[in-house]
Structure formats: C-alpha cells, structure tokens
Amino acid sequence: MPHPSGAMEALSTLTVPQLIWIPLWPLIAFVVLLFAGRRLGKLSAWFAIGALANSCVVTLVLARGVFAGYRLAVDWPWLSAASPAGVIGFSVDGLSWMMLFVVTFIGTCIAVYSSGYMAGDPRYSRFFAYFSLFCAAMLTLVLADHLLFLFIGWELVGLCSYLLISFWFEKPAAAAAGRKAFLTTRVGDTGLLLGIFLLATTVGTFHFREFSASIAGLPSGLLTAISLLIFLGACGKSAQIPLHVWLPDAMEGPTPVSALIHAATMVAAGVYLLARAMPLFTPESLQVVLVVGLATHLLAGSVALTMTDIKRILAYSTVSQLGLMMVAMGLNAPAVAMFHLFTHAFFKALLFLGAGSVIHATHEQELSRLGGLWRRMPWTALVCALGSLSMAGMLFMSGFWSKDAILLTAREQHPWLMWVLLGGAVMTACYVFRLYFCCFLGPEPQAHGDHHAHESPPVMVAPMLVLAVGAVAAGLVGSPWLGSPIFHLLQAHAHEHVDLPVLIWSTAALLTGMGLAWVVGFQGRNLVPGPLRPAARRLYALAANKYYVDEIYQRCIIEPALSATRALSEFDRRVIDGAVNGAGTAGWRLSQWKERFDRLVVDRIVNGLAETVREGGAVMRRAQTGIIQQYLFVVVGAVVALAVLVRL
C-alpha cells in the first residue's frame, strides 16, 4: 500500500525558542576558532566537539515533545515590508528531528575521531573551524521551515564541502576535486533555484507545511516542472546520475570529512529535501526519481565492484545507497527512504572511519597493497566487520531493517522491482566484503613498510565503537519488534511483522554477494564461462572506467566550454580592447589639441592681463615714497592750483 504523502495531519505547534541554540553552538565554535584557533592549538578540537555535543543534548531534550506528537517551532518576522504577516523560522517535526539527531550525534562521534586523525596537521584548528561551520549550516538546513532558508543552509554546506575537500590544497588533486565538487553541485543548485522561482511565482508559499494546502487547483504539469527542478538540486547534492561525478573525487579530502559530509549528512540533504517537498511531487516526477535512483543504484554499485582505492569503493557505495534512497522516494515512501538514510548514516560513517583508521596506520589506500590487517588492528577489523555486515543487510542488523523496508515497498508496487533491487543487494554485499577481505584478511604484503601498522589511538577507536553499536542496533527503531517507532514519528504506515520471503531472499542475496566477494574478489578466480569472457572483459573495462562519464563530460561540456572561453577571450582582446584603446587614443589626441589652445590662447590672455596690471603697478608705486612731506606738498600745490582755478 503506498504511503499517502499528502496525508500528514496538522500537528499542534509548540513555540520553543531554544531551537535557535542547535545551530548557534557550532556557529559560536566556528567564530571562536576562526579568530582564536591558532592560539587554542590542540584545544580547538574540544571547542568543536563541545559545541556539537551541546547541540546534540538540545536535540535529545527536544525528543520528548517531538515523540509526543508536537511540532516545535520558533518564528521571527521576515520581509515584513512585503507582507506584514511574513515570518521565517525553525521548526522540528519527526523528519527534521531524525536528521538533527543524525547530524549532531554522528557529527560529535566524528569530531572526536578527527581530533585523533588530524593530530599534527598544520591547519588543525582551521579544520575544526570548517567542521563547525559545516555543522551549523547543516543544522540550519534541517531546521528551516522555509524553502529559501533551507537554500541558505544548502549553499553553505556546499561551500563547507568545497573548503573541506580541498583542505589539503597543496595537493593539486585535492584542489581540482574541490573545484569539481563545487561546479558540479552548482548545476543542481541552479535547478533548485529555478524551482524556487517557479514556486514563488505560482504556488506563492515557501513554508513546507503549507505546500499540501496551497497546491490545490494548480495544473499538474506545473507541479511536475517544479518538482523536477527541485529533484535536479537534490541530484547535485546527493550525487545522482548524471551529477554523481564529484563525489568519488571528493575523497581527496580528509577521511573524517568523507565520513560526515560525503557519506552521512550532506549528501543525504537531497533525500531530505525530497522528503520535505514531497507534496509537490506528481506521479510523473516520481517516475523520474525512481528511474534516476535505480540507474544510480545499479551503475554506481557496479563501478564500486571494480575500484581498487578503498575510499573510492566506499564513495561509489555511497552513491549507490543514495540511489537506493531515491528509489524509495520514487515509490512515494519518504519514511522508508529516511529510515534507510538513518541507518546508512551509521554504517557508512563507521566504514569511512574504519578506512580512515587503516589509512592513518598504513598511509596506503590501494587495495592490492593492503592485507592481513586484522592482526595489527583488531578493533578496526571488528568494527569494519560489523559495518560491512550491517550494510550488506545481515539479519537483524540496521541495514537489514531499512533495506527490507525498501524491498517490501517495492514488492507492493512493482514486483519486478524487488528482483532488480535484490541484484543491487548482491552487488552491495559483494563490493563491501571484497573491500573487507582484501583489507583485513590474507597475507600481509611485505612490499612496503606495513610492519609499522598499528592500532589507532583510543580517541579514534572509541567513536568507531559507538558507531558500531549504532550500525548494529540503530535499525531496531524501524523494526516491527519494537513497534516501528520511527515510522510513527514520520507519520507513515509501518509493516506489522517481519516478512519471511523477503527476509529469505535478502539473506540469500547477502550470502551470494559474500561468496562472490570471497571467490572472485579475494581469491581472484574467474567464474565466467569461456565463450562469454570477451564480453565480460569489455563490461569490466566499462565499469572500471566509470562508464566514461568523466570522459564524456570532458569531451561534450568542458572542452566546448573551454574553446568558447578562448574564443571569447580572443574577441575581448581584439574587439573590446581595440575599441577601448581606440577611444583612449582619440581622447588623448583631442586633449593634445585642447592643451595647445589653452597654452596659446587662454594662457596668453590671462597672463597678458596680469602682466599689464603688474607693470602699471610698478609705475604707480613710484609715487608712493612714504615721505609725508612730499604728500603734503602735493596737497598744498593742489589747493593752490584749485584756488587759482576758482579765482579764474
């Protein structure tokens, strides 16, 4: 039975001004670290951790109100000149509370881990400043009850993602990856912005809770256009085909960043946006979401099978799992998608932290040069095993519950879709266990200084253990055993009991994938029958080259754009520069003429006048002797002369 998306009944609202503290704590940490980070040194990590932990505590305190069925909100007037009743603000319902919990809780764990992972980095405090800014932006995005406000957070997390991917900007690859991520997500953001404009001019409201009421009577073609534009934004952020190319490259950033931003939270923002804007989606646009999600799930999964860099395997696995969430969205089951987002955040952050621990210990991320690490790093091996099992959908672990919820939803709507998704599950189990087997089992390669490998410090192991507990048990909140509290929180319909056929099929998929990983991925045997080998090799080359998406972009978009810019620069130089320089020369000539006129005519008149006055004065001053008797003589002479004249 499809979950009716528009059926969210109005929740009673509680005004909770404390909401503002959730993003404010990390923001304060950011400001402090920005100005005093250098002086704080090692302490700066604890500033960031403390701030985020405070946000986490505030979030947990809010849980009671949210689970009691209230909508917590705080508003303040905004653009009241345009409409006197205009408000903007934060609000927390079940959906955003879940995201808040993921961001603050996993963020705190990862911040603790980073304090060990980043130790000794010359820009240690800068890292935590960016980290805090990211958390503040992400929490703003989640809390916003207004699409424009969400967009502000959306752009800020994009900025932080860029800053953190190219955190080691000395490496050209990191700088290029940051640029690529920024530009690629920009394509999606442009779509989202256009969607917002279209929404503003037609629906006329940006408040999520007013969407379902205000779309009544609008043509469905318009809604399809709006929702597809919003989906384009989600595609950019959540790395869906065809905008997925930035996420694997984003692995150039520090590993904790990959865990938090590029696995657990920011890339999930697209899924969250879709869940928020679900009332706007028409059946047609949901079809598009479904198709794009399915294509992403399968193609990224197959690429993950062929990658040899451990972080890139995890990156493609993230793309693939985000595709799975989009599939659930396309099936009009936002609660199921959000549940998978929730469990995925735990096990994928855990796997990334495990990979970071391996990289920290061996300074190596090439799969062929790793192996046998379980003896050196027993704790990392243990938590990675738990994370891998959870992701592959091991019975009664987190990944199992959320994946089975998606499979069940798929079976209810399109029975064939479940079989396709089971194929995806085989791939998931296969690539994650290939990674695990090659990394932790087998002989230790002696080619490099592997004997230096050691377990990571407790400050890194402890957060991994916490997340491992989450990866094992967090899914229970969506299991029928506990009455599916998460689905009630999201006001969605939940399955009453565990569905046995789906359980059996998904376990079969897990075992198949694990077996394939052992035989093909780890032992390197070729199971393909002889006649099919050339075709299989071509298929493998296709996947190993990531379906040539980067090359196609290079050929079709980047190079034409570059030649266009070259042509424009030539035009600039020839035509515009010529015009500007010509105007300059003409002005110069004219001014020369004017200068001559000034010098020959105007100056001469002025100077001549002054000269005349001066010479006249020189003559006249001779009369002024300063001797009084001479003046008197003139006076007497004049009187006598006048007297004579009068007499005449």
């Binding site: 006249m620 001053r621 001779r622 002024q624 002797t625 300063g626 001797i627 009084i628 008797q629 008197l632």
Partner: protein, 99 residues
C-alpha cells in the same frame, strides 16, 4: 587802515607755517609749523570779528587756542612713539608707507 595790513600779517604767518611744514625735517619743527598755521587762522578770526563787530569770533579764537594745546599734546606723544619705534626724529627717514 590796519585791516589789510593785519590780514597780510596772518597770511604771511600761514605761508610761513606751510613753508615750515614742507621743508622742516625735524618732527618738533613740523609741530611748530602746524602751530603757526593754527595761529594764522586764529588771527584771521580776530581780524574779521573786529571788522564785523561779532563777539563769537573771539570765542572761536579761544577754542582754537585750546585745540592747539590738545593738538600739541597728541603730536608730542606721536613724536615720542616715533623716536621709540623708528629710533629717529627726522620725518624723511620714516618711509614705511613707501609703495
């Protein structure tokens, strides 16, 4: 009669004053010349008052004598200042107004 003769005396007195004023270099001499001219004017008052039988002219003469005394005081004060500031008493050596 004695009228034209007396007028001649006062004229001569006045011309003597003007001449002294134009030719004297010493500042005190200039003051004395001015006194001469004033006295010529006072003599004229007396002569014409007597000729027309008018007592007011005598009164004017008295005024002129008082005025001359005042003028001498002011003039001497100027001369003292002149000596102090320009360190000379000769009028043709003071030419600050020269253009």
């Amino acid at each position: 009669m004695t009228g034209p003769l007396l007028l001649g005396v006062s004229n001569a007195l006045f011309c003597l004053g003007v001449y002294g004023l134009l030719t004297r270099r010493h500042a005190i001499g200039l003051l004395l010349s001015v006194e001469l001219m004033l006295n010529a004017a006072a003599l004229n008052f007396v002569i014409f008052g007597r000729a027309y039988g008018d007592a007011q002219a005598q009164a004017f003469t008295l005024f002129i004598i008082a005025l001359a005394a005042c003028e001498a005081v002011v003039g001497l004060a100027i001369v003292v200042q002149l000596v102090r500031s320009a360190n000379t008493i000769l009028a043709d050596q003071v030419d600050l107004l020269k253009g």
